[in-house]
Symmetry: C2
Subunit: 338 residues, 2 copies
DNA sequence: ATGAAAGCGCTAACAC
DNA sequence: GTGTTAGCGCTTTCAT
C-alpha cells in the first residue's frame, strides 16, 4: 500500500499539496491537482486511517454496543445493525461492534483508547449500569431504549404505548368489542418486559377510551400449551364472526407459537378473530394470511438514533427533551397515529 | 484523556519506560514498574488506538463484511455476529462491521486505509465478485460459505451434505421408509440456494444408501398455500403412524409456514409424521413439541472462522485443504456424524 | 500556489 | 535499567 509521500513523489509535489487535494482545499492549481489525482489513482492511494485519526482526533467510527446474551428479541436486532451500518457509511464513518458483555468498562475503553467518535447504546434496560458511566464520557452517546434515569443522555425508542393504542384503535374501528392482549412471559429479560409493558398500558388506555372490553392474558412460559391456555383465557366466552375477539400480540415468540395453535383450532385470523401482531412489517407480511401489524419497525428507531449521532458529531445543539419516542407508522388501513 | 507522556511525567520516568511497562517487557525495576502502574491507574490511562495502529501497523480490528439486503436467513446472521464479537475481544481485537453493499470496493477500502488486520467475508455466494479481489489483498481473509472458485482463500461452512445425510439417517433409523425433502423457493438468494441444494444432495445420497424411498417436494413460493401444496406432493399416498413420512425441512422460512399447516391438518410432528428441521437448536427446541433437528449451528462455523483468522494473524502456516466443512453435531438420539 | 517543518501518541533501536 | 531519538502517515501553520 502506498502513502501520501509516495503520491507526492510521483506527482512531483510536496505532501502538503497532496493533503490539500485530498481534503479538497481551495488554492491548488488545476494542473497540479490533476497531476496529484492521477498519481493517487495510479498508486491506488487511500489515506491511512490510523494516521488520520491520530492527527485529526477523529476516528470516523461509531461504536455500537449490542446486547447479545440477554435479549429475547433475536429477530429485532438485525435491522438495527443493518441500519447503523448503512447510515454510517454515507457520512464517512464505520461501525465498531462491541458486545454489552463488556459493560461499563467497555465504554471507558472505547473512550480512553479513542476507538470511536460516538457511541450507540443498544437495548438499554430500565436500570442500566452503563448509563451513569456513559453520561460522563466526553463522547456523544445515544441510548436506544428507555432507562429509568436518563442522566441527560438522548434516548430513542419506539413509542410502544402509542403502538398498543393503535393496535386497539384498529381493532375497535373494525368492529371488535372485545380486545385482549397476550402478554409474554416476564422471564429474565428486563428490556423486553419494559417494552411489552408499555404496549399493554397503551392498549389498556385506548380500550378504556374507546369503551371496548379489555383483558390481559399472560403467557406463563414460551410453550404451545401455555399459549393455548392464555388463548383460552383471552377468548373466554368464545369468538365468532359476529362477535370476534381482537388479539394484540406484542411478542414475536408468542406469535410464532400462537399461529399453529390457532390453525389447529380452525380459527382463521382475519375471520373468526383478529390478530394484530407487533413485529416488523416483513414478518407480518410473511404470515399467511398476512397479519395486521402495529409496526414495531426498528429501522425507524435506528435511523433516529443515527440522526442524533451525526447531529452531535456535527456539533448541532441538542433540542430540549432528549426523549425521542418514534411514532409507529399508521396502521395499514390508514388509522392516523394519534 | 491522558497520554503516555502524562503518565511518564507523573511517574517521573521517560515515555520509554511507560511503554515497556505497558507492553510487559522485562528489565524494568520492580519499584519503577510499580510507580508507573500507579500513575497509569491514577490517570486512567489507556493507550491511544490510532497511535498504536500507526506505529505497530496493527489495528487490532477484524472487519466482518455482512450481507444485509439479500440474505433470506435473517435469523441465522445474529449468532455469527455475536460469535465474532465475543471471540475477538479476548484476543484484543475489535470488530468492524461493514455491509456487503460496499462490494469489492469496500474490501479495497479496508485494506488500503488499513482499517483492519483481517477480514471475514460472510455469506459468500457461489459466484461472488468479492472473491477475486479478496484473494489479492495483503490481509488474511476468511470466507464463510462455499464459492465456486476459492482462489486460495480459506473457506468455512457447515457441512450441509452431511447435515442432510444425518437427517435422513435419523429418520430411517426411527423406522421411516419414506423420506421427503421440502425444498425452498429458489427465488433471489443464491447463497441460501447453494446450501439448501447441498442439504438435498446429502439427503438424497443417504436415502439411496439406506434404501429408503426418497422424494423432493419444492415449495414454489413462501406462502402457506405453496407449502401446503408441497406437503401434498410430499405425503403422496398419505402418512400414518404405521407408515409415517419423514420430512426434512432445510429452510426456516418454510418451517415457519409448515407448522401452522400441519396443525390445521391435525398432523402432529413426532406422531403422524416426523419433521427434521434444519435450523439452530434453540429454534427447534422452541417449537412445540420440539422438533428433531439436524443442527445448522452457526456458532460452530463462526468459531472456526475466527480460529482461522487468529491463526493467520499469529502467522501459523495454513494447512493444505483450506475447505473447512464443519460437521453438524450428532443428532439428539446419538446418531454419530458420518 | 507550493513547500518545509513540527507534531498527533506511540514504540523500538541504540546509547549509556 | 533507563533515557534519547527517530519515525509510523497524516495535517497544518508559517514561510516563500
Amino acid at each position: 500500500v502506498s502513502t501520501s509521500k509516495d503520491v507526492a513523489r510521483v506527482a512531483g509535489v510536496s505532501q502538503t499539496t497532496v493533503s490539500y487535494v485530498i481534503n479538497g482545499r481551495s488554492g491548488v492549481a488545476p494542473e497540479t491537482r490533476r497531476r496529484v489525482e492521477e498519481a493517487m489513482a495510479q498508486l491506488q492511494y487511500e489515506p491511512n486511517a490510523g494516521a488520520r485519526a491520530l492527527k485529526n482526533q477523529r476516528t470516523q467510527a461509531v461504536a455500537v454496543m449490542m446486547p447479545f446474551g440477554l435479549t429475547v428479541d433475536r429477530l429485532g436486532v438485525l435491522p438495527f445493525i443493518e441500519t447503523f451500518a448503512s447510515r454510517a457509511r454515507p457520512e464517512n464513518h464505520d461501525v465498531l461492534l462491541v458486545t454489552a458483555d463488556e459493560g461499563p468498562d467497555g465504554l471507558l475503553r472505547l473512550s480512553r483508547q479513542r476507538l470511536c467518535d460516538a457511541i450507540v447504546l443498544m437495548d438499554v434496560v430500565t436500570e442500566d449500569p452503563r448509563i451513569p458511566i456513559a453520561a460522563e464520557l466526553d463522547l456523544p452517546v445515544v441510548v436506544v431504549g428507555v432507562p429509568a434515569h436518563r442522566a441527560g443522555l438522548p434516548c430513542v425508542d419506539l413509542d410502544y404505548e402509542l403502538a398498543g393504542a393503535l393496535a386497539v384503535d384498529e381493532l375497535v374501528m373494525s368492529g371488535h368489542r372485545r380486545v385482549r392482549v397476550l402478554g409474554a412471559p416476564l422471564s429474565r429479560t428486563p428490556y423486553e418486559v419494559n417494552c411489552i409493558r408499555r404496549v399493554q398500558r397503551g392498549a389498556a388506555d385506548a380500550a378504556i377510551r374507546r369503551g371496548a372490553d379489555f383483558g390481559l392474558a399472560s403467557v406463563s412460559e414460551t410453550t404451545s400449551a401455555a399459549v393455548a391456555a392464555a388463548l383460552d383465557t383471552a377468548l373466554g366466552a368464545g369468538t365468532s364472526a359476529d362477535d370476534p375477539v381482537g388479539l394484540v400480540v406484542p411478542s414475536r415468540q408468542v406469535l410464532m407459537l400462537l399461529l399453529p395453535v390457532l390453525a389447529s383450532r380452525r380459527l382463521r385470523p382475519g375471520r373468526d378473530l383478529s390478530v394484530v401482531a407487533q413485529c416488523e412489517d416483513d414478518m407480518a407480511a410473511a404470515a399467511d394470511p398476512p397479519l395486521s401489524n402495529a409496526s414495531v419497525e426498528p429501522r425507524a428507531v435506528a435511523n433516529r438514533a443515527m440522526d442524533l449521532v451525526f447531529a452531535a458529531l456535527r456539533g448541532d445543539p441538542r433540542d430540549g427533551s432528549d426523549l425521542h419516542l418514534v411514532a409507529p407508522p399508521a396502521s395499514p388501513d390508514g388509522t392516523p397515529p394519534s
